[in-house]
C-alpha cells in the first residue's frame, strides 16, 4: 500500500465513522435528561431511633425526573451514611423496595431495586419520576447537628 493509498483509506474510515458517532451522541446526550426535583429529607430525628422514609412518603422521599426515549439503565450510587462536616455519621440503609418509577401524576409504573441496575423504558419523551426512600438509624451517641450525603444517579443507554 502506498502512502497515498493509506491516507485515502484513513480519510474514508474517518468519514464513514462520523454519522455513527453523531447518532451515538444524539442518542445518549440529546434524548435523556436527569432533573433532581426533591431531596431525600429524613427531617428532625432523635438519637437512638430508626427512621424509615418509604417511597410513598411524598414530602420526604427523593424525586428525580427522567425524560427521554428508549431503554435506559439506571444505577444509583448510594451513600452508606449521612455525615456532618466534622465527621459524625448516621448509617443509612436501602432495601430492594426503596425505589420506584412513577408517572408525573404519581401512579406507580414499576418497583425498582436501588441496589441493582434497573432497566427502564422511556417512552416518547415522556417524563417519569424516579423516587427513592431509605432508612437512617441514629444511636444514643448521635450528636446534634445537620447531616448530609449525596446520592448519584447514573443513566446509561444499554449497550454503550
Amino acid at each position: 500500500m502506498t502512502p497515498r493509498t493509506g491516507l485515502a483509506l484513513l480519510f474514508a474510515l474517518i468519514l464513514a465513522s462520523w454519522p455513527t458517532l453523531a447518532a451515538a451522541q444524539g442518542n445518549s446526550k440529546g434524548t435523556v435528561s436527569i432533573s433532581p426535583v426533591q431531596n431525600l429529607a429524613f427531617g428532625l430525628l432523635f438519637p437512638g431511633r430508626r427512621e424509615a422514609v418509604p417511597t410513598t412518603d411524598v414530602s420526604r422521599r427523593a424525586v428525580v425526573a427522567l425524560a427521554g426515549s428508549g431503554p435506559i439503565d439506571v444505577t444509583l450510587v448510594l451513600p452508606t451514611a449521612l455525615e456532618t462536616p466534622t465527621g459524625d455519621r448516621i448509617p443509612l440503609s436501602f432495601s430492594s423496595s426503596d425505589a420506584a418509577l412513577l408517572t408525573t401524576s404519581g401512579a406507580t409504573l414499576k418497583q425498582l431495586d436501588p441496589l441493582q441496575v434497573n432497566r427502564v423504558q422511556l417512552g416518547n419523551d415522556r417524563t417519569m419520576l424516579l423516587v427513592l426512600g431509605g432508612t437512617a438509624a441514629t444511636s444514643a451517641n448521635t450528636r446534634t447537628g445537620h447531616y448530609t450525603a449525596r446520592v448519584t444517579i447514573l443513566v446509561n443507554h444499554p449497550g454503550t
Partner: protein, 167 residues
C-alpha cells in the same frame, strides 16, 4: 506525505476518546439529609423529704431531678440565698445543703460552688456537651441540725429551683 499520514493517524486516535466520552453515562445527584434534634428536658423529681423530725434531733434527706441532654448545660440556682429555705409555723428554717450533678441520683460528681448562693447568678455549674444523649441527676443532700428542729410543730416546706440552660 509520510509526515501527513502520521499526523492524521495521531488525530484519529485523539478523536476516539472524545467519541467514547460522548457515549458514557449521564449523571445527576440529589442530597439526603437529616437533622438531629437537641435533647434537653427535665424528668420527674424525687422530693427532698426530711420526714417526721423529732424536735431537738438532727435529720438528713436527699432529693434529685434528672435531666436528659445531648448538648452542654449551664445549671444555676435562680432563688439565690433562698434556695431550699423551708417555711412553717415558726418561720423560716434553712437546712444546709451539698449539691451538684451525678450520673446517678446517689453520688455527686460535679458540685455547685454554693448551694445557697449569695446572688441568683453566683453559683453556676457548666458541663460540656456529652458524646451522646445522657441522663444526669441534679442532687441536693440536706441536713437539719439538732438545734434547728426544736421549734413549733407543723409542716415546713420550700422549693429548690434549678435552671438548666443549653450551652
Amino acid at each position: 506525505m509520510n509526515r501527513s499520514f502520521r499526523l492524521l493517524a495521531a488525530l484519529t486516535f485523539i478523536a476516539l476518546p472524545s467519541v467514547a466520552s460522548a457515549q458514557t453515562a449521564i449523571t445527576g445527584s440529589i442530597t439526603a439529609s437529616a437533622d438531629i434534634a437537641t435533647v434537653f428536658s427535665f424528668g420527674t423529681p424525687v422530693a427532698l423529704n426530711f420526714g417526721s423530725v423529732t424536735p431537738g434531733a438532727g435529720a438528713t434527706a436527699s432529693g434529685s431531678i434528672p435531666l436528659s441532654r445531648n448538648v452542654g448545660v449551664i445549671y444555676s440556682l435562680p432563688d439565690g440565698a433562698n434556695t431550699g429555705r423551708l417555711t412553717g409555723p415558726a418561720g423560716n428554717l434553712q437546712p444546709t445543703y451539698t449539691c451538684g450533678v451525678g450520673s446517678t441520683a446517689a453520688t455527686i460528681v460535679s458540685a455547685f460552688t454554693s448551694c445557697v448562693p449569695a446572688s441568683t447568678t453566683a453559683s453556676q455549674l457548666t458541663l460540656a456537651a456529652p458524646t451522646g444523649s445522657l441522663t444526669e441527676y441534679v442532687i441536693f443532700n440536706g441536713t437539719l441540725a439538732a438545734g434547728q428542729t426544736n421549734i413549733a410543730p407543723g409542716t415546713y416546706s420550700g422549693t429548690i429551683r434549678v435552671t438548666a440552660t443549653p450551652n
